[in-house]
Symmetry: C2
Subunit: 527 residues, 2 copies
């Protein structure tokens, strides 16, 4: 007899299948498979029901550890820096390398050109690598996204090792540019296919890959591309998974279900016809820089409180349900201080810190264009300064409401200055916040995969930052998007000595594979 | 019989001579020379007493107008840009050219090396050109200073003509880098010697020249040099004249007797261990940029009022005498708005504007080092920002008092922020204000020279800016320093389309020569 829990899932599955019988026949297969007895995997106790194919897959991944590291070494060696024009040829080379890897494993690969790079029209944008692995109408189709370009890196920046020569230390830390961001996770998907083939395990889903080469330079052209392919290449997508962020700490995996948005503003103040000598003009003319700092000081205080009236009222209220969420997260103020590189935290507790990072807006002053910014002394009165600031947005803040409040407030404060300078505030760009339901079956499947591989329930996290393409995939496919990170909080992406731990790479490959098995069979819910 | 005024001067002179007989015997020569009858020169009525030698000198200057312009053309063609390492060879070339000009005219020239450039030790500093023209113990010795280096210039910056190709338009405006700052005035002194020689007029003084090649890059090494030479090369100096500033307007010459000082500060605020992503950290950590703008906003308001307590109390009170000074100056708010390039003036009247510029301190915020300063958007939280501001100082503000008040105030305001960031204020450099007595005989002589050449009394002006070497010459020689400008307010030094009007160059040459004649004979007073 089936355990009650399986019966419940079976009922749910059958009722789902009843609605879309052609799409979900494989659920029957699951329904009649005997649940695995409780057993120990990799040193941890788990009572997850294991899908039948995982054991040989996991063993194969362990066997292939060294070849997988070599695969990452090959990828890291290609200096696919998207920001540098002179490296564009290597970005393209990396795209071809990736296409070859996928083709060799039996995927159908398309290299889609995106045209010239806006602003640097002498450069072709690197191709988007689209790959389809499997097209069984009886299986679910999972779309995964990653990027094969990297941030710039030079040994002289302070790297302890050659940044494009993957170097593994005795703790298993694999140092190299792109190791964690995002070549490791991209290769994770390829490793999953490879290990399934070599283990002779049937691949559980149809996999669609979308790997871009411009993520570190603003994902130029990708948004339009994804929107256009929503009803075309991506049309069969049942769920989306992106592995391009990080665990909150170093020990416990997480699933990420929310991102803050970002409204970026310029505050332009101009007066004199040209930069002035502060000796000749100091005290006699309204100085744009003085007006700017005065207005900047009205926007936010040293405790990080946004002072613009009306912003607070746009924030979704905290529910009773929510309060407990932050408590449960494996995180400490020590973790926070380590990532901050100092103890200059505002909030006293991890809960308050996480809430400020995930579910409250923040306002940061990024800098001033047009003022003196070099070392040393210059006695200039800048004629025109452009202050840059941004507001990280959260549910339910609408971009247009934020912009209206910002503009009205700055105009009102500017009037109080009684300056003759011209003051203009403008929205430079905005990206909406994104929050998915962590109770969606896509997340439920990933939760089981984490428990299977790591023996713990993942932290359900949000991120303070923005990954605009997440929302684009959600909107283009109409499906749930899951962020399933591979790397840990200490990986230093974008920084010197970027690394990926071997454990995260190998267990992470297992996790991605296990996720595909669970998501293939997870009963559909409506969360 | 001598007129009463001459008798009075004779008495004064003799009493002076009585004290220092060896130094002033030429005053006897003056005493017995018949005063010139009232006459018209160059279309203007003047009742100045003309020194006997001026007429032939003036005529010779007029005759030599074209060669003098050619001399300036030659000088402008040498691209003596002191800021650019690649131009250093041309700065040195310019020094040699100048030395040759002086040697050809019979001056004894020395080229003094100043060693390596601090911070760019691969560069030799250009030589200081010292020249002595005449060493008659019966004559006064006048020390003149100028500089032969220039600001950078490229046609692409927006010049209407080639910046190093002197171009004279139909209004007589001579466009070219260095034309007014400071090659024109330096050649003015050389033209004076030239015209005297060619006219066969005895040179009225012993002239000492000190021409440097690093003025546009901070006069590196000059201060120490001048101090060291005070009791040596400059020891016979009776008065100093510097021609390196500008008329207040375009029509009327001025003599400048005061400069503001400058205290330049850095305000360094640091917290996080590295620059942060505003998405990940916004709202959770004290942001140095927020602290900085808050503190900056406490220093000065949009009306240019310094908000630091105690600063006002350091300012010398306005005397009854003084109020009338500003009234008398030929200047208007239109002149001010033209130089400002806008109508963003703070004060409603010329008097109030001039007082703010000349005799009140001002505080300017120059910029921020370490924050984002490029065009476009970057969502960074800068880990360390260094705000730069300076205070222009006036009598009787002492640098150390200003620094104490600034530091105490910033520390008090920083404490109110309750930030965990580290905040440090530091004095980067200071230069003292300088005020000479406009009633000193050096100024009296220059006043007569202006009246002789231009037919008007000069405006007695101060400057808002600082020329630190002025005070250095005063201290090194113990003598009065006069600023005697050649160019006008529209000359655009440091800017594109720098020019010197032919009238200012030719009449200015006459003025410098006339000044030497008057200063040779002006009775010594103690003002």
């Amino acid at each position: 007899m089936l355990p009650a829990s399986v019966v419940a899932r079976l009922r749910f599955s059958i009722s789902s299948v009843g609605r879309t019988p052609a799409l979900r026949p494989n659920l029957h297969r699951f329904a009649f498979a005997a649940p695995h007895p409780r057993r120990t995997y990799y040193g941890c106790i788990t009572d997850s029901k294991m899908a039948p194919q995982l054991d040989p897959f996991f063993q194969k991944v362990d066997e292939l550890k060294q070849p997988f590291i070599e695969r990452l070494r090959e990828a890291v060696a290609i200096q696919s820096v998207s920001a540098q024009a002179e490296s564009r040829i290597d970005v393209v080379k990396m795209g071809h390398w990736l296409a070859n890897q996928l083709t060799d494993l039996g995927a159908e690969v398309e290299m889609r050109e995106l045209g010239k790079e806006p602003g640097r029209e002498f450069l072709d944008l690197p191709p988007v690598i689209l790959a389809r692995y499997g097209s069984d109408p009886k299986k679910r189709t999972i779309l995964v996204y990653g990027h094969y370009d990297v941030q710039p890196a030079q040994k002289e920046d302070g790297w302890a090792t050659e940044p494009f020569d993957l170097t593994v230390d005795d703790k298993g830390r694999m140092f190299g540019r792109g190791s964690t961001d995002d070549k490791g996770p991209v290769l994770g998907w390829i490793n999953v296919i490879d290990a399934h083939k070599k283990a002779g395990v049937e691949f559980p889903v149809n996999l669609l890959c979308c790997f871009e080469g411009m993520e570190e330079f603003g994902s130029l052209g990708l948004e339009e591309f994804v929107k256009a392919e929503g009803p075309k290449y991506f049309k069969d997508t049942d769920a989306v998974c992106i592995s391009d962020n990080y665990w909150l700490g170093t020990e416990k995996p997480c699933l990420t279900y929310g991102l803050r948005g970002c409204n970026y503003y310029s505050l332009t103040i101009s007066g004199p016809g040209q930069d002035l000598h502060s000796g000749v003009f100091g005290g006699t003319a309204h100085e744009p820089m003085t007006d700017l700092v005065t207005l900047f000081s009205k926007l936010v205080d040293s405790q990080g409180n946004i002072l613009i009236p009306g912003i607070k009222e746009l924030i979704a209220p905290i529910t009773d349900d929510e309060q407990g969420l932050y408590d449960a997260i494996t995180y400490s103020m020590d973790d926070f201080h380590i990532s901050l590189g100092s103890e200059t935290s505002i909030m006293p507790t991890k809960e308050a810190t996480l809430m400020r990072r995930w579910r409250f807006p923040s306002l940061s002053l990024h800098g001033v264009e047009g003022a003196y910014s070099a070392p040393g002394c210059k006695t200039v009165i800048p004629a025109k300064v452009i202050g840059k600031f941004s507001i990280r947005t959260v549910p339910n803040m609408k971009s247009e409401d934020v912009t209206r409040l910002v503009t009205e407030f700055i105009n009102a404060e500017a009037a109080k200055l009684q300056t003759k300078n011209k003051i203009e505030v403008a929205l430079m760009h905005d990206g909406k916040w994104w929050v998915a339901s962590p109770k969606h079956w896509n997340f439920a499947a990933a939760t089981k995969a984490v428990k299977q591989v790591f023996g713990v329930d993942p932290d359900m996290t949000r991120e303070g930052g923005s990954i605009p393409i997440t929302l684009t995939f959600e909107e283009a496919t109409g499906k749930n998007v899951l962020l399933l990170p591979m790397g840990s909080s200490t990986d230093a992406p974008h920084s010197i000595n970027e690394k990926l731990d071997t454990r995260n790479y190998i267990e992470g490959t297992k996790l991605l594979g296990a996720y595909l098995h669970y998501v293939a069979e997870e009963p559909i819910n409506k969360a």
